[in-house]
Amino acid sequence: MIKAYKFWLRGSLTMLLVFSVPVAAWAAPELPADIEWLTNDTDPVYASPEAKKGGTFRDSLLSFPATFRSVGPDSNNSFARVMQSNQLGLIGIHPNTENIIPELATHWAFGKDKKTMYFKLNEKARWSDGKPVTALDFAYTIEFMRSEFIVAPFYNDYYTREIDRIIVYDDYTLAVVGTKAKPDLHLHLNIGPKPRHFFGKLDKGFVRKFNWKIEPNTGPYRISDFKKGKSIKLERKKDWWAKDLRYFKNRFNVDRVIFKVVRDFNLMWEHFKKAQQDVFRITFPDYWHVKSKTAVIENGYVHRIWFFNDTQQPASGMWLNLDREIFKDKNVRYAFAHAMNVQKVIEKVLRNDYFRLEQHYVGYGRYSNNSIKARRFDLTKVDDYMKKSGWKRGSDGIWAKNGMRFSVEVTYGFEGHTPRLVVLKEEAKKAGIELRLQKLDSAASFKKFLEKKHDVAWMGWSTGMRPAFWQHYHSANAHKPQTNNISNTDDAELDKMIDAFRNSLDEAERIDLSLKIQAKIHETGAFVPTFMVPYLRQAYWRWWRLPKIPGTKNSDDLFDPFDPSIGGMFWYDKNLHEETLAAKKKKKKLPPVTIIEETYKMKFLENSKFSTVNS
């Protein structure tokens, strides 16, 4: 049976009932003959062959999710990652090589039009209720995601703007057609299926009806039990269809994962020390250095690991608003950057634990321009730049010119950052710049930035697979509210390069442009990069075991039980568990262990001033 589904988009979200009735056009789509099917069974596996199945892994949540729905109101909660991780996509990305690897599809092919990808599904793929996953489930994804009944404008928009249609050739063969030719097509067209047999025809009642329904999934675990407001239990599927696939083998080892709600971060730490939680993230300097000087760690019952990864770094720092009179002068922007004593904050407040972020796009592999260095604290340079623009120090030591003082407001949204900012403020005073700190609620501060009402925004942007220049630096997004160009960068030359980058389908050219754009952005001086944390640190009870290389280049959590790309690499060791409990009972000390794992440490960090901590 061959069917083709095509859906048309009408822009407005307010139009009702446009997408609720799929338009089925009977045609006979033929698979193009000239496509080349690809697969990947040669990339290195990264799970450990020693891994054993078993055990219960306990973790905690700060709050109970407001819904189990994957879309719609309140669905973007902190538990969503768990739900999403247990829904596989067509393909995955190998966390070390970043090549495509199979997930629900065994084979894939790129169309000649550069906007279509073809997929052959794994015929063994099953929903958690035992029904096979077929191409029709992907066609249904489009219908589902475009429906206005799911009350998810973001998805409505994404699945119309990015994805044109799904072509179903047979039960296990399909094509995903994008709306336009694009580089890195596989990053845009990798969609997941939705169980048509479970949702059926959507209607107005969707949001309420599916609030606490557990949607069938394709991943290794499913929710088996939950107590609202208290706990959620996930059970490993004993005969999971994908358990012997090359990149899934020896992963997802624990039998049960239990999340308990603990509403306070300090309290979670206490729970962890009582072994009511198995792992605790201790990346923060005070947890790593001070709070981990505690009995269970010093007696060796809990191990610590410091794992360097090599992944895209969030762009955190200070964004100058170029629409402000004072920042229109490039010399003043440079002087501002040289007046920020970021190094002192790193050394004196952050215990030398953080690294200086050199520019906006660090960790994007070949797309990153690693020759750029952030402007360092330098009072002579501040003097030079300020004097060049005709400023003089006033009687209070602050630069002044034509009645204007170099006093700017720094807005931020996270209380924990105050210690960093007060040090910057005191140091900037030496350079003749006054920082007025304004701490807002995080949502309020973000709103202020998006409305471009700040002088200096203290914030970080999250990352993607590839550098996103257009949203942050293109003039199309400058001088208007609700866009991500919060520095209001508006440079014709930069625009030209960004446009070329966006329109190019040639990887080499894109990489070349990417490096040039970053150099240009650095020259603009609208962004003062501050810190990056290219690692993670965790404490875990010693009966949990990790592979020899405990994570991957892109791991952001070594004890994520679910993530299809980096998760489920650890396992439970019953003997060690009993041994530890016995030692604890007898108050016997075991050797304390701190692992520092630098396999994936970024190359250019090695020379930086940094001392590792002894174990």
């Binding site: 030591g397 900012l421 007060v422 403020k425 350079a431």
Partner: protein, 347 residues
């Protein structure tokens, strides 16, 4: 100025309650000291003698390092200068205040991380907070802000509350009923939430915060004033004033309020301590005055996240206890001194 003998009697009585009286003196001294905090707790020197010239940097503009032939033109680091002069022993000297730190500077060390424990040698008598700021300095400047905040709030609350309260009591009837309902509705507005909402979208400064808090704070005293005025307006002297043709305004402000002053004064000290606590708790929650304003609430918050650094929570809790206890003792003594039962004798 002629003082009412009754008032003199009240003062005498107050003085005779030793606990309250000494608390009052301590409290006054604390306020006075905090007014001149720049002379006691400051990173600027009290006096510098350099090459025969005298400098008094405490108040006024900054003196750049170049003035003392140092190689920087930001503000002179007087502690460092003092050390250098000592080494040179050329007759130049720097006179530093007893606590040579201001409330904002981070005194950081090379090989250690704050918070640093108390140290007499380093002149951090109560140690430093989590970013290396001196706790004595934060406490003293924080006290000054908190106490003046509280006094200003008191003034604002009582001006509004007393006027409205006595107007309600004086006119009674519909006016009273109307305002009673308004107040009932008003007092049901969850005031803490309103402050949190307001301060999360804009950072309130000192006066804004007083304005916001007075917006809800005036209610408390109205009920008392209303009742007292109801009683007073039936008195003969009010009737007499009316007969003489005094205006309502005059009767309320010149006759009734002076006669109810005992009640107002009795409540005031407790309102002051209430104000301090309110500001501290708002700062603790992060919705008070913007950082890096020195504040007790912020110190308390730091104390909670750094429980092992006992000197942070220890000193701020001690400071709060001392302040609140003195204010409470004063309040107690005032109440007793103004107690009508003590000096009204019917024969």
């Amino acid at each position: 100025m002629k003082i009412n003998p009754l008032t003199i009697k009240k003062f005498r009585r107050f003085k005779s309650i030793k606990r309250g009286y000494y608390s009052f003196i301590i409290f006054l001294m604390m306020i006075l000291a905090s007014l001149f905090a720049e002379m006691l707790v400051n990173s600027r020197a009290l006096m510098v003698r350099y090459d025969g010239n005298y400098y008094f940097p405490t108040y006024g503009n900054i003196i750049p390092g170049t003035t003392f032939d140092l190689d920087y033109d930001y503000e002179t680091n007087y502690r460092q200068l003092a050390g250098e002069f000592e080494k040179e022993s050329s007759g130049n000297y720097v006179l530093m205040p007893p606590v040579p730190f201001n409330a904002y500077e981070n005194d950081l060390k090379d090989d250690q991380f704050p918070p640093f424990p108390p140290s007499i040698k380093e002149r951090h008598y109560l140690g430093t907070d989590a970013v290396g700021r001196d706790i004595v300095a934060r406490l003293v400047y924080g006290f000054r802000i908190a106490i003046f905040f509280s006094l200003a709030l008191l003034l604002a609350n009582y001006t509004i509350g007393v006027s409205i309260g006595s107007a309600m009591g004086y006119w009674g009837g519909r006016f009273d009923l109307f305002f009673q309902r308004i107040i009932e509705i008003w007092s049901n507005v969850p005031f803490l939430y309103v402050i949190i909402i307001i301060s999360s979208i804009m950072v309130p400064n000192f006066f804004m915060l007083i304005l916001i808090m007075a917006f809800f704070g005036w209610i408390g005293i109205t009920w008392t004033m209303r009742t007292v005025t109801y009683k007073e307006r039936e008195r003969e002297y009010v009737l007499a004033a009316k007969a003489l043709g005094a205006s309502n305004m005059r009767i309320i402000f010149k006759h009734i309020i002076p006669n109810t002053i005992a009640i107002i004064v009795t409540f005031a000290p407790f309102a002051v301590s209430g104000g301090v606590v309110a500001l501290t708790s708002l700062d603790y929650l992060g919705f008070g005055l913007p950082p890096p304003t020195p504040s007790w609430g912020e110190l308390l918050q730091q104390g909670w996240t750094h429980l092992d650094a006992w000197w942070i929570s220890g000193s701020v809790i001690a400071a709060m206890i001392i302040t609140l206890i003195t204010v409470t003792f004063i309040g107690e003594a005032v109440r007793e001194a103004f107690d009508p039962k003590k000096h009204t004798v019917y024969e």
